[in-house]
């Protein structure tokens, strides 16, 4: 069976005022159905840009210059912009590092969930709102009604991230890309969010592409790991194999950092 997502030779350049920076320099990557894959690497190694390139929501100076992104066999890079609307959120959904800044500060949580539901599922407002509240309950938010009517600044980081997950899952994506979703949270909340994600994955069924620089998380949740360094995938394999026998020095650095944290 072909993988859900297959990335081949992806290259992304940043066209800055007076120079060009090669942010992603030929990345190959696969995600199978219902699998959890970790994309690891230091900040600035091109992890985020790679994942944003999958649905072409890159910042303005970035250009995809080469490669293929095959989603269920279809090349995303060849699709016209309008065709991508149904894929973004509908097939590939994202959650990001800092929910507080990735949520729109002037719209309620409810509105931000509902607009996606209405847009993708063509539901009426009332139905969409009911579904939105249900989604919030699904991510274990006790006071779903209050959160629904709240603005992001009124909620804690963990609560925002839960709501964000609800929003991302609103349209039943096949692939959830989680870009360091727990980095801005404290450790206990981090554990809760990770637990929630794995549970939802079991229950709802989606593939998870998890970006992190923290291999402790990788070990806990993933079957396979890709390690990125300076725009390239320098190592990949089964999680256990990589921990047992890291080949690239950057992987060893990340593992060393993991052991250090373990000791603390």
């Amino acid at each position: 069976m072909s993988p859900l997502l297959e990335v081949k030779g992806l290259k992304v350049d940043f066209h800055l005022e007076n120079r060009i920076v090669h942010a992603v320099e030929g990345v190959d990557l696969q995600v199978r159905r219902n699998e959890t894959v970790v994309l690891a690497g230091e900040s600035g190694s091109g992890k985020t840009i790679t994942t944003l390139a999958l649905t072409r929501i890159l910042p303005a100076p970035a250009r995809i210059v080469a490669g293929q992104v095959l989603l269920e066999g279809r090349d995303m890079l060849a699709l016209e912009e309008k065709k991508l609307y149904s894929i973004r959120g509908g097939v590939i959904a994202y959650i990001f590092q800092e929910p507080a800044s990735f949520l729109n500060p002037v719209l309620t949580i409810g509105e931000q969930i509902v607009e996606a539901v209405i847009w993708h599922q063509r539901l009426g407002r009332q139905e969409a709102q009911d579904q939105g509240r249900e989604l919030l309950r699904q991510v274990r938010i006790a006071e779903a009604d209050r959160v629904f009517n709240s603005f992001p600044h009124q909620l804690s980081g963990g609560m925002n991230q839960r709501a964000f997950i609800a929003m991302a899952l609103a349209c039943k994506p096949s692939l959830l890309i989680a870009d360091e979703p727990t980095t801005s949270l404290d450790v206990t909340i981090e554990a809760e969010i990770l637990k929630l994600l794995t549970e939802l994955k079991e229950k709802v069924g989606f593939s998870l592409l998890f970006i992190t620089h923290n291999l402790a998380i990788a070990r806990k949740i993933s079957q396979r790991i890709y390690v990125m360094y300076r725009g390239r995938v320098v190592e990949n394999g089964l999680t256990e194999d990589i921990f047992k026998d890291p080949k690239h020095f950057h992987t060893r650095e990340l593992i060393a950092a993991y052991h250090k944290i373990g000791k603390l």
Partner: protein
């Protein structure tokens, strides 16, 4: 929210107190060693003038007593009588308010109605022909003396082409017009003044709107909106625009001092009977009570503008509204 408003109101008190002291101080430069020019030219007029000053400002009393007496009158809205025609200053000012407020409100309306769409378009087509053209226009309009622009447009539209009236608020036979024609007549007279007084605002606010949109479009939540699959249009008009408009809301309040200052120039050029023209006449005639009243009024309006700016910002930004 209510707390916020109350706090802002209380915060105004020391400011208003300061404003009254500065206003008083400015005018107190005058009495006593006043107007050497007049005195030299016409000792009799000047002696009369001096007597009036003495009476109006209790010049025989020490400064701080004078200040408090003035403040007491001010609090009772007793602004004294004009030196020129002996009418109460308050009445003279009040009859002038509608013209100035009306024209400035109109030009603010024009500014926002035009500048916001222009700014949005310039931002979405960043670097394009429209963006460049509006950038050049703004740069030039910020450098052009408004009174000169008024003179040029008068020369073109009123004299060469004869399309617009050269001055005043309405035609001579205005009183005989039916209501609809009266309205049209006033509108016709206001085209040029409103346009000229909007120009600077247009230049500033369209650019401000542009950079505000561009900044909003770089915010993280825009990626979220895109990642949800929302179409460009929704991302721009719902997610970016709502955030970009927040700071714009305050600009209306903050542009009050500039508009008032401009009124002095436009109203004298176009012979419009507003506060600016009154102030100009007062300055020419050295009508001190009127000048003081206008300075205080100008400051009050500015303070009120700041307050409106803050409160309206608080109203539109949920981060302040729900705190």
């Amino acid at each position: 929210m209510l707390n916020y408003i109350i706090k802002r109101f209380l915060g105004m008190i020391p400011v208003l107190f300061g404003v009254s002291i500065v206003s008083f101080a400015v005018i107190s430069l005058a009495p006593g060693r006043f107007s050497s020019l007049d005195q030299a030219m016409n000792p009799k007029v000047s002696a009369q003038y001096q007597m009036r000053l003495n009476r109006a400002f209790n010049l025989d009393k020490p400064v701080h007593v004078r200040y408090f007496l003035w403040l007491k009158d001010l609090a009772r809205l007793d602004l004294g009588r004009s030196f020129v025609d002996n009418r109460p200053v308050a009445a003279k000012i009040l009859e002038r308010v509608p013209v100035t407020v009306g024209i400035n409100a109109l030009s603010l309306l024009v500014v926002f109605l035009v500048a916001i769409p222009v700014g949005i378009r310039a931002a979405t087509k960043e670097g394009g022909a429209f963006d460049t053209a509006t950038a050049v226009f703004s740069f030039v309009m910020l450098s052009v003396p408004a009174f000169w622009l008024a003179l040029l447009l008068m020369q073109l539209f009123c004299i060469h082409l004869g399309w617009l009236p050269i001055s005043g608020l309405h035609s001579l036979d205005f009183d005989y017009f039916p209501p609809v024609r009266r309205f049209l007549d006033v509108a016709w007279h206001l085209i040029l003044p409103v346009f000229v007084s909007s120009v600077a605002g247009l230049a500033v606010i369209s650019r401000y709107m542009r950079s505000s949109i561009l900044e909003a479009l770089q915010q993280p939540y825009i990626y979220t909106a895109l990642a949800k699959g929302l179409p460009q249009r929704t991302v721009l008009y719902k997610h970016a625009l709502r955030n970009a408009l927040l700071p714009i809301v305050t600009l209306a309040g903050l542009s009050i001092p500039g508009l008032l200052g401009g009124s002095v120039i436009f109203e004298s050029i176009f012979a419009l009977p507003g506060l600016g023209q009154l102030f100009f006449q007062a300055v020419m005639a050295r009508d001190i009570p009127l000048i003081m009243a206008e300075v205080v009024l100008g400051a009050l309006l500015t303070v009120a503008g700041n307050l409106i700016a803050d409160i309206s910002y608080a109203c539109v930004d949920p981060r302040i509204r729900y705190k």
